[in-house]
Each structure stands twice: as structure tokens, then as C-alpha cells.
């Protein structure tokens, strides 16, 4: 295994399970996009250029509320900053011969799941493997969005309702295993939920948009966690991120 050749086909194979998951989840994103007022092709462009679930859900929320460019920039920055950490970790694991220009191109495909699989392989990660690994999930994410957006325009309401909740199901499936493993993460998540509910229901916060409410809730809860649990050892932070 150690000296295995960098293979596009190996990447494709490793990406199959991710692409199936992305297809179904992006279907519910497509529906959410339509319910937020986007057209089918707007939803498709959004998914092709972003390839990120939480960021896109927050993004269409801001679009639907005619939010500001600054709000969009801050929310995407905070929600997607985790990709920077993953990109750093991944940059340590790639081939020494990984072409510099391909880094610009393939970095666009770093997602939670693709990062997780790439870090889980025994070999160093070559450009062919990484390209193969990104290919099917990209296709799954885009085609699922388009079909969800089309379906969202004509499917009956009780079906779209049921499908729209799917993406939240995925968020829950990402968070709960970490909550079980790590008491600090459990407490941070609980605080984040309480703050998020306060923003949603407290009358004085009604003019704060949902995008900002998520950011403020999450950052405050995380800061609390960082300073409250001084001695919690964060071993193998790269593995902690390999959910999914």
C-alpha cells in the first residue's frame, strides 16, 4: 500500500459513498433554495460554485432576506473557516510532487467528507486520486440540487416538507457522534442551541437576521468552551474533523 500509484480510478471508487449521500442531501437543499425564491438554474450555479451544505443553507437564507454583502461575507467566513483547517491538514498529507497549479484548482473540492476520506487513506494524496475523489461527489451534489429544485417546483407540499428536513437530519448526524465522544463539544453545542433559540424567540432580537444569529451563537458558545475547558486535551484534531 505504501508505494501505491496515484490513481484517478481509486479516487472515483472512494468517492462513491460520498456522492450518494450528497445526492440525497442536495435534493433537500434544492427544495430549500426554491422555497427561498431562487430559480432552478440559480440553485444549480450556487451548488456548483460552493460545494458546501451549511454555508449554502445559510447563504440562501441571507439571499431570501435580501441581506447585505458584509453579512454574507462574515457568515460564510465563520461557517466555512473549518475548511481552512482541513486545507492545512491536507496540505501536509499530499504528494511532494503535487503540482502547484493543481492546488488552486483542487482546493475548491475540500469538503468535510472529502477531507475525511483523503486523510483516512494510507498513502500520501496525489492529484489524480484527489481529482477522482472530488469528481463524483461534485456531480452528485449538483445533480441532486437540480432535481430537488425541479421537484420543489411541482411536488405537493407534504412531500417537499418531508424532503426539506433531510439536510437538518444530516447536520444532526454530523454533530451527535462528536457530542457523544466529547463532553466539551456537547456543552458547547447545548449552549449554541440555547443562544440560537434566544435569538429566534426573544422580542428584542427580532431585527437580527438568522445568518448573524447563527454566527454569534456559535462563536460565543465556542469561546466559552475554549476558556471553560482549559485542560481538555484536543488530541488528533485532524481526526476529530473526519466526521461523515
Amino acid at each position: 500500500m505504501a508505494n501505491k500509484k496515484d490513481s484517478f480510478l481509486d479516487g472515483i471508487k472512494a468517492g462513491i459513498p460520498i456522492s450518494l449521500g450528497y445526492f440525497s442531501v442536495s435534493f433537500s437543499f434544492g427544495i430549500i433554495a426554491i422555497l427561498s425564491g431562487l430559480s432552478i438554474w440559480q440553485a444549480a450555479i450556487l451548488s456548483m460554485t460552493n460545494l458546501t451544505s451549511a454555508g449554502q443553507v445559510a447563504g440562501v437564507g441571507i439571499m431570501a432576506a435580501s441581506g447585505s454583502l458584509i453579512e454574507m461575507a462574515i457568515s460564510q467566513f465563520v461557517i466555512n473557516i473549518r475548511y481552512s483547517l482541513m486545507a492545512i491538514s491536507l496540505s501536509q498529507k499530499i504528494d511532494k510532487k503535487f503540482p502547484f497549479l493543481l492546488r488552486f484548482f483542487l482546493s475548491a473540492g475540500i469538503t468535510d467528507e472529502i477531507f475525511g476520506v483523503a486523510m483516512g487513506t494510507k498513502n500520501s494524496v496525489g492529484p489524480r486520486f484527489l481529482a477522482g475523489l472530488i469528481a463524483l461527489p461534485f456531480i452528485g451534489w449538483t445533480s441532486g440540487t437540480i432535481l430537488g429544485a425541479i421537484g420543489g417546483s411541482f411536488l405537493p407540499e407534504y412531500i417537499t416538507n418531508a424532503l426539506a428536513i433531510g439536510i437538518f437530519g444530516m447536520f444532526i448526524a454530523i454533530v451527535i457522534p462528536e457530542v457523544k465522544k466529547s463532553p466539551p463539544i456537547a456543552i458547547v453545542c447545548a449552549i449554541s442551541v440555547v443562544l440560537s433559540c434566544i435569538f429566534k424567540f426573544a422580542p428584542i432580537f427580532q431585527n437580527i437576521s438568522s445568518g448573524f444569529a447563527y454566527i454569534i451563537s456559535a462563536v460565543l458558545a465556542t469561546l466559552f468552551g475554549v476558556f471553560a475547558f482549559k485542560d481538555a486535551n484536543s488530541t488528533e484534531s485532524s481526526k476529530e474533523e473526519t466526521h461523515g
Partner: protein, 106 residues
């Protein structure tokens, strides 16, 4: 949605998201050493997903009762360690079934 609203917001969204992925991948060589900074980035994704899920999930469908049932189903299955696909489908099916039962009862 009007393209004059959509495209400026989309471009900001894409630029921020892409730069966050590209810059560290192209430039960084060293790992983050500071324990607090490390833990901040370790906790943050889960805090964001939690805040985005609750309470929003309750308003994701037109019926708060079925949405609550979907939430409970997802929590139980995720706690049992089921994968993303299973949890997402179970939440959807629960909402669908309970909506149909309510429609029948009312």
C-alpha cells in the same frame, strides 16, 4: 430571485468560501500549535451546525408537530450511530408519515 440581488451575493459567497479553502492549501506548511486556537476550530463547526439546526428545523416544514417528530427520530438514529444518509431519510420519512396521519385524522 432577481439576478441583481442574486449575483453580487453569490460572488461574495463563492470568493470567501474558495479563498478559505485555497489559501491554506497553497500556502501553509505548518500545523497550528496553539492549543486554544486549535480547540476553537475544533468546536466551532459543531456549534454552528447546532445553532443552524435548532430551532430552524421546527420551522422547516409547515407543521411544527411533524417537524418535532422528525427531529426526535433524527436524534435517536444519530445517537445510535447511523450514517448521514439513514438519519436524513428517517427524518424525512417521519415527517411524511406523521403529516399523512394528521391529514387523515383532521
Amino acid at each position: 430571485m432577481d439576478n441583481r440581488l442574486f449575483f453580487p451575493l453569490l460572488i461574495v459567497m463563492v470568493l470567501v468560501t474558495y479563498l478559505l479553502r485555497m489559501l491554506p492549501f497553497v500556502l501553509f506548511r505548518r500545523k497550528i500549535e496553539n492549543a486554544r486556537v486549535k480547540r476553537f476550530f475544533e468546536y466551532l463547526p459543531y456549534a454552528i451546525l447546532s445553532a443552524m439546526t435548532i430551532p430552524s428545523i421546527l420551522f422547516a416544514t409547515s407543521n411544527m408537530v411533524s417537524a418535532t417528530l422528525g427531529l426526535i427520530a433524527a436524534l435517536i438514529l444519530a445517537y445510535k450511530g447511523k450514517n448521514l444518509l439513514v438519519v436524513a431519510c428517517a427524518a424525512s420519512l417521519t415527517v411524511l408519515t406523521s403529516d399523512m396521519i394528521f391529514a387523515f385524522l383532521i
